[in-house]
Amino acid sequence: DAMVIQNPRYQVTQFGKPVTLSCSQTLNHNVMYWYQQKSSQAPKLLFHYYDKDFNNEADTPDNFQSRRPNTSFCFLDIRSPGLGDAAMYLCATSRGGGYGYTFGSGTRLTVV
């Protein structure tokens, strides 16, 4: 089945140690998104790629970066994770425009 795959499902990292989360899609969608979801809160958009164009949200900390080397893959890099960055990270894709999103299962990040 065409889908959005996030690896790993669970990630534990040390305070301050760089970590990368990955997302791949087989839908050939133009747009890929990264959302952060903390406990009992709404998913919050960090940034997205429309094809190769990177679109950062104004309030996304500089600590968060992203790469999209090709249509299928997108990475979320956290340069120096803090305890406050512990959350579920959701990747989503879309055809763009007014179409709905397809979400991955998420990666739960723990910072110790």
Partner: protein, 112 residues
């Protein structure tokens, strides 16, 4: 700025009872509204879009621009409807990829 409000964090009904999950939004332009659902231990998935005017799993939602609402309704709730429901708003047809803003979600429990 766009904003989505789901006033009820928790909603509990009995099987066979009608259910309504409330959603209000604020947005100066012409929005597109969505409902997403997350069943236990599953990924977030699209339930329905207002532009489709469809009924999915017995759920319907009507966009009321006068009241800026997009409430989700089902006449007879089933136990399998128990899940977290998110209302989401997107700006229409952005060429850089739509941005979904989520409400904080309503946890629906349908009791036997």
């Amino acid at each position: 700025a766009q904003r989505v409000t789901q006033p009820e964090k928790l909603l509990s009904v009995f099987k066979g009872a009608p259910v309504e999950l409330k959603c209000n939004y604020s947005y100066s332009g012409s929005p597109e509204l969505f409902w997403y659902v997350q069943y236990s231990r599953q990924r977030l998935q699209l339930l329905l879009r207002h532009i489709s005017r469809e009924s999915i799993k017995g759920f319907t939602a009507d966009l009321n621009k006068g009241e800026t609402s997009f409430h989700l309704k089902k006449p007879f709730a089933q136990e399998e409807d128990s899940a977290m429901y998110y209302c989401a708003l997107s700006r229409v047809r952005e060429t850089s990829g739509s941005r979904l803003t989520f409400g904080e979600g309503t946890q629906l429990t349908v009791n036997p």
